[in-house]
């Protein structure tokens, strides 16, 4: 620097490189604050207006109920979790398989894709009682509802992802001796993965709700069943405790899929271009 001096405005390093703790606080601080304030207000309103707990349970009572009923909540969670995971698994397998079938067969695409889209106007929830009639009160009707809930976003993600592959990649691969299968394995499928994961993440948030709907239609255990029982006894705190558990379950599955996504396709986020 002795020969010439070039002055540029000093760089604000704290902006380009914030410390790890600071960035976590920046990111999660505001929403966390809102949540804490809401819970506090909730508790306060119930105390101030003396709302009966069977109408609206205060957070402290919900926490206490969770502590008291923990073993029960846990065993019902296991039931609902099983339904959720098994149904979700089937949806992923069937969704991918169906998406690939439509991708490889023009005939299947032309005949089945319109039906698939049209079928979405059937509210899946109303099918739950039908599944109970056909499949009984056990695991399988719930699995069916969950799978049906989750199937659609995964299929659509797969098909859209495979359709939106940059044609230029395919031309390039053709001049590099690629077979149809080679193009699929090395270009089409990887480039569709971000959209497949987007569909799967959406499906993950639906899965637990599907299981609860299935349980409402007819069951002997599970968080949905426990909720109905609690409602009948005007045990509002337990209803909320079930909601907390269902929410945690849905969030965990969503988080798990996001984690798998980040590990499988690290290239998708970083560059921003595919």
């Amino acid at each position: 620097m002795s020969e010439r001096t070039v002055s540029t405005p000093a760089r604000d390093d704290s902006r380009t490189r914030p410390s790890r703790t600071r960035s976590i606080i920046d990111r999660y601080g505001p929403p966390a604050l809102i949540v804490v304030l809401t819970i506090a207000a909730w508790e306060l309103i119930i105390i101030v207006f003396d709302v009966p707990t069977y109408i609206w349970a205060p957070p402290t009572l919900i926490v206490e109920t969770i502590r008291e009923e923990f073993p029960d909540l846990l065993s019902h969670s296991a039931v609902t979790l099983t339904e959720t995971l098994v149904g979700f698994f089937f949806a992923v397998v069937a969704g991918l398989a169906f998406g690939l079938l439509l991708h490889f067969s023009t005939w299947a695409k032309r005949s089945l894709y319109p039906i698939l889209i049209a079928s979405q106007s059937i509210p899946t929830v109303v099918l739950a009682p039908v599944f109970v009639l056909v499949l009984g009160f056990g695991l399988w009707p719930k699995v069916a509802v969950v799978a049906l809930f989750c199937f659609f976003p995964i299929v659509v993600g797969t098909i859209d992802g495979l359709m939106s592959v940059d044609r230029e990649y395919i031309r390039m691969m053709l001049t590099l001796d690629a077979t149809r299968m080679g193009i699929f394995r090395r270009v089409e499928f990887p480039s569709a993965l971000p959209q497949i994961f987007t569909g799967t993440r959406v499906a993950a948030t639906y899965a637990a709700i599907g299981a609860v709907f299935g349980e409402w239609a007819g069951s002997q255990s599970g968080l949905g069943w426990q909720m109905l029982q609690a409602k009948g006894r005007l045990d509002t705190a337990l209803v909320f405790a079930d909601i907390v558990f269902i929410t945690v379950m849905a969030l965990s599955l969503f988080g798990l899929v996001s984690l798998v996504e980040r590990l499988t396709i690290p290239w998708a986020k970083k560059g921003g271009r595919t």
Binding site: R171, T175, L176, V187, P190, G271, T274
Partner: protein, 256 residues
Amino acid sequence: MTGPAFTSTAAIELRGIHHRFGEVTALADVQFTIHRHERVGIVGPSGCGKSTLLSAIAGLIQPAEGTVEIDEATTPQERLRRCALMPQRDLLLPWRTALDNAAIAMENRGMRRSEARDRTRPLFERFGLAEFEERTPNELSGGMRQRVAFLRTLMAEKDILLLDEPFAALDSITRSGMQEWLLAALEQEPRTVLLVTHDVDEALLLTHRVVVMSARPGRIVLTLETDFPRDRPRREIVTSPEFATLKESALEALEL
């Protein structure tokens, strides 16, 4: 002119190529021959059908009229098997490392991935990409991405390379570096090259013969033989009177 002695065997033979897109005549009566290991440049304004011509030669499309013959093969499938095309965009796959991108043609032919990688690695060293093998494309500079894209084309092990404005997306300093790099690479690994570009200097510097095309309809208006000693530095060639004369006539034909 004492051009390089090419064997009389024609690698690419184009006869009476016509092609149109709707009302627009993209190619009109395009006809020329490229000999083995000859490098031919095509310059022309945008819309002269340069890229269409490359797609037609490569077998990605079939021209409406005329024949493309590559080593006596005429069907699109056979042409695809004999040509490697390097597009203007590098089209590196973001989920593959630089080495895996360059090795993809060998994997496409059914070679095991580890073997394809082993066969490609020496080229990275020879062509100034050593230590970048395991980088992903978005960790590479524009010039390096183009180099990897070129190696990928080379690794297809085809005699005919069709280069479609390979350096158009690069800044001018990077571009001249890349041109020298490409020239050195092709002196080491001689191939039959058809280079499409809109840069007259690039065509004159890199090829043995430059074909000038007009736009709409795309037809050949001039052919220039170039004969610069390739071992001279670029600077000397570009500033020589011979170069200036050829460039002048090319620009005149392009009506620039």
